[in-house]
């Protein structure tokens, strides 16, 4: 595909820092006396799609807002695009796009006026892309933002975030209110954006299928910390679900190295295992007189088990 055919206008290459796009150390954030983030350490390399997973209330939105300086932090350090993020400012703002979880800003503005207002601040604003997305997503430029549905507002927020051609795109549950067509269109845009070298996307979502489609690295936020960040393929490689079946059922799950979780359901024993040795599994099945079935868990299965 030539540059002219790309949905995004290619821009002058920007010297990306050798350092990670994002580096967080010991980030602490509390609301009143409730500690939401308890010393987050996290490093995000450039050119990756990162899926931030966590249960409701885990602190995903808080973490993303702290990263961008939209919420004051109580401790730790955040380095974004090579500089400390004490408050949003500086030239790097031209390189950041953000889609908030709920877009409730400027309800009095019309869609066109809002985009004109925003575009005026950016050095690189892809008017053609914005116009194409508005048309494709059937957003009426003359309509007031307050009159848009939640899904339409989310579309507008995505247009606003992508049009400045950001190097770092932070998306907080961007597809939660989108219909399947719009979700698919959004994912297509996202994947197109990622074709450009050095583009990084961090997005929190509960729709794990989107992360699988994007081949994202998965970061899990739990208990106020990032528990791990691994490529999806590695997760798939390292985690297996072993299903042991025998007629007499299971009084308790046998001890096994790497077992993260075990569930007994009638004659079936399901175990989620990390770095399981197939030989050990087979030996266990033989010893217990059970039939062994090894499955690759989906990301959703992993999320349910681990989050």
């Amino acid at each position: 595909m030539s540059a002219a055919e790309l949905p995004l206008t290619l821009v002058d290459p920007i010297a990306l820092p050798a350092a990670p796009v994002l580096h967080v150390q010991g980030l602490v954030k509390s609301f009143d006396k409730r500690e939401v983030l308890r010393g987050v350490d996290w490093s995000v390399p450039a050119g990756r799609v990162i899926g931030l997973l966590g249960r409701n209330g885990a602190g995903k939105t808080t973490l993303l807002r702290c990263l961008l300086g939209l919420s004051p932090i109580d401790g730790g350090q955040v380095q974004l695009l090579g500089a400390p993020m004490t408050e949003p400012g500086g030239e790097r703002m031209h390189r950041i796009g953000f889609v908030p979880q709920t877009f409730d800003l400027f309800p009095w503005m019309k869609v066109r006026a809002y985009l004109d207002f925003t575009a005026a601040f950016y050095a690189r604003w892809d008017h053609a892309l914005a116009a194409r997305l508005l048309q494709g997503w059937e957003l009426d430029p003359k309509q007031k933002i307050g009159q848009l549905s939640q899904g339409q507002r989310q579309k507008l927020a995505i247009v606003r975030a992508i049009a400045p051609q950001p190097d770092l795109l932070v998306l907080d549950e961007p597809v939660a209110s989108l219909d399947p067509q719009a979700r698919r269109a959004f994912m297509t845009e996202l994947l197109e954006l990622m074709r450009h070298p050095g583009k990084t996307v961090i997005f929190s979502t509960h729709i794990t299928a989107d992360l699988e489609r994007a081949g994202a690295d998965i970061a899990l936020l739990r208990d106020g910390r990032i528990q791990f960040m691994r490529p999806l393929a590695e997760l798939r490689e390292r985690f297996v679900r072993a299903v042991l079946t025998r007629a007499e059922g299971w009084a308790e799950a046998p001890a096994m190295a790497g077992a993260l979780k075990a569930t007994v359901a009638g004659s079936e024993l399901q175990m989620l295992l990390e770095d399981a040795d197939p030989a050990v599994l087979r030996a266990l099945a033989e010893q217990a007189g059970a039939e062994l079935r090894v499955e690759t868990p989906t990301l959703e299965d992993l999320f349910v088990e681990l989050a």
Partner: protein, 470 residues
């Protein structure tokens, strides 16, 4: 510059009427300043126009900035720098241009007038940003009222002193910093308060433009906690009572606790104490005037009471989506039954308003050593009753648009003021008993009639749960 232009345009798109009027007034002032080159005395009139225009313009600008300065806006590249440039353009428009014309006209005290223009702009901006600096202006009036001779001497010296203009500029700079610093600080959003909360005490200082909440300081947060605790206590008591003996009255009390969380006895008492503080300041300010009329106390008490109802109108609109949940919880047999519950619940506002007006009037009459406190109290009680009924009625079924509501509020306030003064005269002319009877017959029957018709109409209408359009 495109971004600065876009920022400048915000006032024109948000408050076009205000922007046009302020600009016309400013142009008039500038033309007068031009004419003043022939006659220097006209320059003062011209600058008066410019100052008025600047005051209104900057109140609007402050409100617009409250809406624009959200944390997400700071992700816009160079947002602060663009705001600073907007400030430069604003100074050029409202201070430098009139200042140059003034210098050309050459009247005395030119520097002072320019400094005054800066202070006026700063005050307007601070007020628009939701900062209660108007209290600081009162302090000046209080001091002047206490010691008029000294005040006059101070003014004479100040007019002659070369330090006055720089001091005024310093005051303006402090005011601007005081107004803008919270807007430029990124902080976590306050927990939203009930849309029906009473806004007259600063508990819920929202911009009428877009419901953007003013950033609350430590004092307001503490106050908020007190009100919330009182609301929680009242809700728990109502719940206990309902659990002990479920009844329609108990259910209505619960609905009231939900819709009007801060209209419980404890919160009312707290509000009265707070307002009493403000009233004391006010009386200190006005009672030293030479022609102070204590009867005005009742009029102001009614005015303060009526300030509650515009918030009710706006709040009912914003509450609509939440009311769907209430509808499902109440599970009424008919839509009319639900509407009746709403009407009955909101009816609480009438006695609350009357009690509030009486308390304010009583306090004011004591402070001002009113000659006829009974006459004031009776008039305030009757007028507050009828005005509350009418206000509640028009906000239930009245216009939804901000312009229509604004017009209705104006009519209500002027009507209530007229009724108070008319009633006060009647009680004086016919005696307390006959005057009260006549006033009550006219106003309460009018208020009751309007209320009766409005609540019938409200019950006839289908409940609406759609979110108001922005």
């Amino acid at each position: 510059m495109r971004a600065v232009w876009q920022l400048w345009l915000q006032l024109w798109t948000r408050l076009p009427v205000l922007a046009v009027l302020a600009m016309l007034m400013c142009l008039t002032g500038l033309v007068l300043a031009l004419i003043a080159m022939l006659d220097a005395r006209v320059a003062y009139v011209g600058m008066g126009f410019v100052a008025f225009a600047s005051w209104f313009w900057h109140i609007g600008l402050g409100q617009v900035l409250r809406g624009v300065c959200r944390p997400e806006s700071f992700l816009l590249p160079g947002f602060r720098a663009r705001l600073a440039w907007l400030g430069v353009a604003d100074v050029a428009q409202w201070v430098l241009l009139p200042g140059v014309l003034l210098v050309l006209a050459g009247p005395p005290h030119g520097a002072l007038i320019v400094a005054g223009l800066v202070v006026v702009a700063a005050l307007g901006l601070a007020l628009g940003c939701g900062r209660r600096v108007s209290l600081a202006i009162w302090a000046v009036f209080i001091a002047a009222g206490w010691m008029p001779r000294l005040a006059s001497q101070v003014v004479t010296v100040a007019l002659a002193s070369p330090w006055t203009a720089p001091l005024l500029m310093l005051c303006a700079a402090l005011l601007i910093r005081y107004a803008l610093a919270p807007l430029l600080r990124i902080q976590d959003a306050d927990t939203p308060t009930s849309p029906l909360e009473n806004a007259s005490i600063g508990r819920n200082s929202q911009s009428a433009l877009d419901d953007a909440q003013a950033r609350r300081g430590a004092w307001n947060r503490w106050l908020g906690e007190l009100f919330d605790r009182a609301a929680q206590y009242a809700l728990e008591r109502s719940l206990q009572a309902y659990r002990r003996r479920p009844s329609a009255a108990g259910r209505l009390a619960l609905v009231r606790r939900l819709l009007l969380p801060h209209d419980n006895p404890q919160a009312l008492a707290l509000r009265l104490v707070l307002v009493a503080g403000m009233v004391v300041i006010y009386f200190l300010a006005v009672m030293h005037r030479q022609h102070f009329d204590a009867a005005v106390v009742g009029a102001y008490a009614v005015l303060l009471t009526m300030a509650r109802f515009p918030q009710l109108g706006r709040g009912m609109l914003r509450m609509r989506p939440n009311l769907a949940d209430l509808y499902l919880t109440l599970a009424p047999a008919t839509r009319g039954e639900y509407q009746k519950i709403m009407v009955d619940a909101l009816m609480l506002l009438v006695p609350v308003s009357v009690l509030t007006a009486l308390a304010y009037t009583l306090l004011g009459s004591v402070l001002a050593h009113a000659a006829e406190p009974a006459r004031m109290l009776i008039t305030a009680a009757i007028v507050a009753t009828s005005a509350s009924l009418v206000a509640l009625a028009v906000h239930l079924i009245g216009p939804e648009g901000s312009f229509g509501r604004g017009a209705v509020n104006l009519v209500l306030i002027f009507g209530a003021m007229g009724a108070y003064w008319g009633g006060y005269w009647m009680l004086g002319a016919f005696g307390l008993a006959w005057g009260a009877l006549a006033l009550g017959t006219v106003t309460i029957s009018f208020g009751g009639g309007v209320w009766y018709a409005a609540q019938r109409e409200y019950q006839r209408r289908a409940p609406r749960f759609d979110a108001p359009l922005g």
